[in-house]
């Protein structure tokens, strides 16, 4: 007997419904504009995921969370490969839930590229094709579309597409309580009750840990969330508006076990700062951090961290010794990748927009903290992928030059540094500021310094990051991609200068 068709299907486009060859960092490539043949870029950065009749093996964690909540609430739901969405709608699915991080290519990495390269980003192309394919079915089948996720504010800038694609409900949750709200909306739609067209979840409606429902199927690259919120409350960021909540170890273990049971031998601990797991302050709680990492390493050969902060690393250097001793075993794992925020080398801008980022150290020490943390990471085989924000409100030439100088000083340390143009993201305190779109000549120095830093280290890291026969072809392809970027370097600089002068 065949299984009943899920009433509710969850999906997203190929840029997210992929495991990026098992290497999360390759996912950043989906934000790049189509500078090389599309088929090549799509294969390199977001190959299709394994599935059975469209039911995917791994899916983005946010979709898994909603799926788990729907199943918990007695609603038949499943995450479906984007290529199979029409098939499930034809079979009778009544609601399609789509979640995305960057619907129209408006988020920081994407807008940075597309500001001076006149090509559409891969992720935006993939989403457009996916949604156009889906909305064609609206005239033939009776189903509703819910869009959700932390980046739905982008629909407010592309509101004409709400009508064009006939979106029924937009859930603006910034991740918090999203699964509960979506489940309530789904129930109402299934009962033909009225629903709001747009729902925004405010800061007081945050998710309490007791309401969590663990995922029931594997997440992309085994990513499991270990907490939400951030104590540093930087003005540009939306996450810090929420209170800090750390998930208990038994909850985290359940989600790791789900991933292991479904065949993943590697995973990622995700939160705003893994080094602050279990802490009520901005100083690490070493016992808690070691416990959560030991737990992960008990199940996985390779463990990654989504994010940590540089100040927390410097605040407890011994912890870095101990935690890397647990994770970097030299056999299955030689490096530990993590995203960190430098954001600026200017003390003035740090004080203005993110005075707590340096805590427990004074903000005046920020550039020194960054250097110290990078040196510490280098010594311990931690590879940071760091972000910078270009064009923060109030930025001057001196601020940019201070950042450029800092990036130059970081050259000896194994890392990638990615400059991102300031984007007034949805629910951040800077959410109503102007977008940064026009670079000035002094920005060119910073962008080129970052490009050179990235090329220098990426070329060295490819062999260490993509080890073994399994990755032989991807390794070769990535090296070719990097060689092309190096080849285009003079043109990129020329284009940046033209762009800066035209501004």
């Amino acid at each position: 007997m065949s299984k009943p068709v899920p009433q509710v299907i969850l999906s997203t486009d190929r840029s997210l419904m992929t495991d990026h060859h098992g290497k999360e960092f390759l996912g950043f490539g989906t934000t790049a504009p189509l500078i090389l043949p599309r088929k090549f870029m799509q294969w390199l950065f977001c190959p299709p995921i394994k599935h059975e009749d469209g039911i995917v093996w791994q899916a983005p964690y946010g979709l898994r969370r909603i799926e788990a909540r729907l199943l918990h609430d007695g609603i038949n739901a499943a995450v479906v490969d984007p290529d199979y969405v029409p098939k499930y709608i034809e079979r009778g699915a009544k609601i399609l839930i789509i979640r995305h991080h960057d619907w129209f290519g408006l988020n920081p990495p994407t807008t940075t590229w597309t500001a001076f390269i006149d090509k559409e980003p891969l992720n935006a192309v993939l989403f457009r094709e996916f949604i156009e394919n889906v909305c064609k079915l609206k005239s033939r089948y009776d189903f509703k579309i819910i869009v959700t996720g932390p980046a739905v504010w982008q629909w407010l800038h592309k509101y004409e597409l709400i009508d064009k694609y006939d979106i029924d409900v937009i859930v603006d949750s910034n991740g918090d309580r999203e699964e509960i709200v979506v489940s309530r909306i789904v129930r109402k739609l299934l009962n033909n009750e009225p629903v709001p067209s747009y729902i925004k979840i405010g800061i007081k409606d945050n998710l309490t840990v007791d309401k969590l429902v663990p995922i029931v199927h594997a997440s992309v690259n085994g990513l499991v969330e270990i907490g939400r919120g951030c104590p540093r409350k930087c003005a540009f960021c939306s996450v810090g508006n929420r209170p800090v909540r750390w998930y208990p170890l038994d909850f985290i273990e359940k989600e790791i076990q789900v991933n292991v049971r479904e065949g993943l031998d590697h995973g990622i601990l995700s939160c705003t700062d893994v080094l602050l797991y279990g802490s009520d302050t901005v100083v690490p709680n070493p016992d808690a951090v070691l416990k959560v990492n030991m737990l992960a390493k008990k199940y996985w050969r390779q463990v990654g961290w989504s994010h940590c902060t540089l100040a927390a690393a410097v605040a407890d250097k011994k912890l870095i010794d101990s935690v890397t001793e647990i994770l970097i075993d030299g056999e299955h794992q030689k490096l530990l990748g993590v995203e960190v925020g430098i954001e600026s080398g200017s003390v003035k801008l740090m004080r203005q927009h993110m005075p707590a980022k340096s805590k427990p150290f004074p903000v005046e020490k920020w550039p020194e903290i960054v250097e110290e943390a990078f040196a510490l990471f280098h010594e311990h085989n931690i590879v940071p992928a760091a972000t910078l924000i270009v064009g923060l409100p109030g930025e001057t030439e001196d601020d940019v030059n201070a950042t450029t100088e800092l990036v130059r000083r970081l050259r000896p340390y194994r890392s990638i540094i990615v400059p991102m143009f300031f984007v007034p993201m949805g629910p951040s305190r800077l959410g109503k500021e102007e977008w940064f779109r026009r670079i000035k000549p002094y920005h060119v120095d910073l962008l080129v310094t970052c490009l050179d830093h990235a090329l220098y280290w990426a070329e060295k890291l490819v062999d260490e990051y993509l080890t073994g026969m399994k990755y032989a072809i991807v390794r070769r392809a990535l090296k070719w991609f990097l060689s092309k970027v190096r080849e285009y370097r003079p043109k990129i600089i020329e284009k940046l200068r033209e762009f800066a002068e035209s501004g």
């Binding site: 709400i162 009508d163 729902i199 925004k200 405010g202 007081k204 951040s428 959410g431």
Partner: protein, 85 residues
């Protein structure tokens, strides 16, 4: 949590930001915003409310776009908390 329902027509969207501020000041954290619209599309109304919906971190806002007074009354009588709990 205290809830409040704000009702406006599609021609009064400019008033909404002020009304939301007043509702917040009176202690409401869940706001039902009902727009009675017969001409403007859903997308146009949502787009017009961008300054209210984006960057406001405090209230939970549910935006209902309706065509008739009956629908307004139906939403007025809803427990908005049901959407979040």
């Amino acid at each position: 949590m205290k809830q409040e329902v704000i009702v406006v027509t599609e021609d009064e969207l400019a008033k909404v930001e002020e009304s939301v501020k007043r509702a917040l000041a009176s202690g409401a954290f869940r706001i039902g915003l009902v727009v009675v619209a017969r001409r403007r599309s859903r997308g146009e109304i949502i787009g017009s409310l961008r300054t209210v919906l984006k960057g406001n971190i405090f209230p939970s806002i549910s935006l209902w776009i309706v065509q008739s007074q009956d629908e307004v009354e139906r939403i007025r009588n809803l427990n908005l908390g049901e959407l979040y709990e």
